[in-house]
């Protein structure tokens, strides 16, 4: 198809052409970036924690009054005994935090005692010899804690564990040669020996502040026995989660009523924990999705509207062309090609704009660079959308009878 007559016709409709192209450009820029954000957030959403999530839940237990650390430790051990004996429970442990909780303890690790800057930060979890089994963490090197290694600690005591277990990402960061087990590192200024390595365990938060030490977690052989309370992590037998989530708090209250377990969020399944942790990611993905859809619909409607107007305006010319021998196919092709030309112009502008917006967001919101695939996807979507939107008015144009040439406007 010769595009010369189309171009010369478009020159006579400068305003309309520019407006459609502009709209396509803006839509492309926003849709590309929105798709990119959606994909980023969704891939974030599906990151594993390392925990046996379908069967695990967490109880936040707070004590009444201000019992001493020794007293708290005794009560915690009794609670853990009660929980582990409960029908339907596979294992239970106590900790200061858990993956996706949103907050907790993180600290720096050094390889030498006189080092100034930390080699890396790490999430710090307190756990006993039941911790690995309760959270379903796979030991890939070394050993688990021994029961005699577990000691109690008050909140402001010095944290100086003789041994610790680390995750593989943390081990790889500290000892890239893969021989972390048996090595000594300096944790909070004190030497500690790595005795075990687990495959995977997420940090306590997936927010930006914790991204510097994402996946780098360590477990210290401690029970944090403090009057503020702490968390019991309970792993149920398959299929028993709901039953145990009801029976566990009841059993704890029966054994010792001087405690507070909030009705609202005192007992949370991992599904609830995950929902809460990723609330803003999910929300952002939904918002971007809705904006994309409405935007595409509005752009399509705009193209339909403006092309319909052009068809109406050019009925006479179309009639003349038909009378001079142009087929319906020719007329259809004319309008489709016209739209393609405008869309390509718009897409070109839009691609530049999309990259500009992305670069701005990279500096402003610490986002990643837009990959080319999104640009290609966005351009394809918009070209197809344009062709789809122009189809109805173009078909109408192709049905203009040759006799129209003889009518006045």
């Amino acid at each position: 198809m010769d595009i010369k007559p189309i171009l010369s016709a478009l020159r006579r409709h400068k305003a309309g052409t520019v407006l459609i192209a502009l709209q396509i450009a803006l839509t492309l820029a926003i849709v590309c970036n929105a798709l990119f954000i959606i994909h980023q957030r969704l891939s974030h959403l599906s990151e594993p924690t390392g925990v046996d999530e379908p069967n695990t839940f967490v109880i936040q237990n707070e004590w009444v009054g201000t019992p001493t650390s020794q007293r708290v430790d005794a009560m915690m051990q009794e609670d853990l005994r009660v929980l582990r004996l409960l029908p339907g429970v596979r294992d239970a442990t106590a900790s200061n935090s858990y993956p996706l909780r949103g907050g907790g303890w993180d600290d720096g690790i050094k390889l030498k005692p006189d080092q100034v800057k930390d080699t890396t930060g790490s999430a710090v979890y307190f756990g006993d010899e039941h911790f690995l089994d309760t959270l379903d963490l796979k030991l890939i090197a070394g050993r688990n804690f021994r029961p005699e290694e577990i000691t109690a600690m008050d909140v402001r005591d010095k944290l100086a564990p003789p041994v610790m277990i680390v995750t593989k990402p943390l081990a790889d960061k500290l000892f890239p040669d893969g021989d972390a087990v048996g090595k000594t590192i300096y944790f909070v200024g004190n030497p500690t020996t790595i005795v075990g390595e687990v495959e995977l365990m997420q940090s306590q938060s997936v927010e930006r502040w914790a991204s510097a030490f994402a996946w780098r977690s360590l477990i210290v052989p401690k029970r944090l026995a403090i009057s503020l309370g702490g968390f019991y992590i309970v792993r149920a037998q398959p299929g028993q989660l709901n039953a145990v989530m009801r029976s566990a708090p009841a059993a704890l209250f029966k054994s010792n009523p001087r405690r507070v377990i909030s009705d609202e969020d005192g007992v949370l399944s991992y599904a609830q924990i995950r929902d809460k942790a990723y609330e803003s990611d999910r929300g952002m993905a939904i918002l971007m999705g809705v904006i994309c859809l409405v935007l595409l619909a509005i752009t399509a409607a705009g193209i339909v509207g403006l092309t319909s107007f052009w068809v109406g305006q050019r009925r006479k010319q179309i009639g003349v062309r038909r009378a001079l021998g142009a087929t319906r196919q020719d007329i259809l092709h004319y309008f489709m090609t016209e739209n393609l030309l405008i869309s390509c112009g718009g897409a070109l502008m839009g691609a530049v704009l999309a990259i500009a917006i992305n670069l701005w967001m990279v500096t402003r919101f610490e986002m990643h660079r837009l990959s080319l695939a999104y640009l290609v996807a966005g351009v394809t979507i918009l070209l197809l959308l344009g062709q789809g939107a122009v189809l109805a008015p173009a078909l109408r144009a192709s049905r203009v009878p040759p006799v129209e040439a003889t009518r006045s406007v």
């Binding site: 305003a15 309309g16 407006l19 459609i20 502009l22 709209q23 803006l26 839509t27 820029a29 926003i30 970036n33 929105a34 954000i37 707070e62 004590w63 009444v64 009054g65 201000t66 907050g103 600290d107 720096g108 100034v116 930390d118 008050d154 909140v155 402001r156 005591d157 010095k158 200024g189 403090i226 503020l228 001087r258 507070v260 909030s262 609330e279 803003s280 929300g283 952002m284 918002l287 971007m288 904006i291 409405v294 935007l295 509005i298 752009t299 409607a301 705009g302 339909v304 509207g305 403006l306 319909s308 107007f309 052009w310 109406g312 305006q313 967001m361 402003r364 919101f365 006045s408 406007v409």
Partner: protein, 440 residues
Amino acid sequence: MSGMFVHNLRLGAASLRRNVLLTALMIMSIGFGVAASMVTFAVFRAVSGDPIPQKSSQLFVPQIDNRGPQYNRRGEPPDALNYTDAMALMRAHKAPHQTMLYPVGMSVMPADAQHMPFKASGYATYGDFFSMFEVPFQYGSGWGSEQDEGRTPVAVISRSLNQKLFGGANSVGREIVMDDHPYRIVGVTENWDPKPRFYDMFSGNAYANPVQVYIPFTLAVQLKIDTYGNNNCGSDGKRGDDHEGWLRGECVWVSPWVELNTAEQVQAYRQFLDGYAKEQRDAGRFSWAPNNRLRNVHEWLDYEGAVPPESRISLTLALGFLVICLVNTIGLLLAKFMRRAPEIGVRRALGASRADIYRQFLAEAGMVGVAGGTLGVLLTAIGMLGVGLVFEPHIARLARLDASLVLLALSVAIASTVLAAFYPTWRAAQVQPAWQLKSN
């Protein structure tokens, strides 16, 4: 003139009826654009508002660098004070009003044994807190400096905690047992819950549940009530081996606030902070030059990133969205107006001036704007119901559809439509009467 206006409106309505699909498209385009930008704006407004407008330029957070250039974060002092510095600022008493605070969580024992104990969260602070932050009281008042100095077991509770414990009766003078210690209630606050909670950004409580109880800081430290919020120790290792060591160590956990009413006071306080840091250097505690900050509420919220990035990104995108809707409306109006070029030609030939054409077409565009704005307000209302799907509940709860938002939505819609109508109207008014008549 008004007769002419009504006539223009009638003409516009007739023209809009002639092409229902195009009219509907324009109205929907404006409606969606307005709704998307208004919903995100409502959320943005909710999270970026000034929590204490009457005093935000007089309340300051002093920050003291106790880490030094090797360990501080990008040259900035930590976001809170350690106990040593907090006590030094209180003792120096260099501002007209000052307070320290940290979050506490305590178990409350209801008077009748039938009820279960529950957790109440709040703050350990000084008596100045209530006047500095203008906390409104339902009964009684805050405590004074004698109670601070005497470590007196007094408490201020919130209206909702008073409702729960005393059925809403005036409980001033009565007793509340928290963590097995009795406290005498001296005041009951009204429902006071500024969002974001500017005074406790350090512990991430910007959008936390309302505060239920306040107790004296001095007493809380004496009772060894530990912080229920953050404790940031940095990596220089000076954090102590037990509770006493922690209090003397360099971990930061106390949020400081001072009230300074004049520029001179602010200047003097800055000098005082620098002088204090120099003293600490001379005493051998710091080995670096004074590195302090004194930020007011605005600067503090900005520094702490109170507005979630989600909200900024979505506001930016929603504004882009509104622009696209406007471009769309310009295109459609242009199509609509230019289709009537012959009619304009005839009217111009019959003596209508350019101004008449302007008035006629702007009236028509204004009608589209009002319709689009109305649709926009409706869609905004529906969108507000869905805010909870997109934003976290504690933020979504803050965004409300009120009269000012409705008014804003309507004015944005009309203003943008009229703005969008100018170019098509101008084009319509340029139609040459002779040329149109000839071509017919």
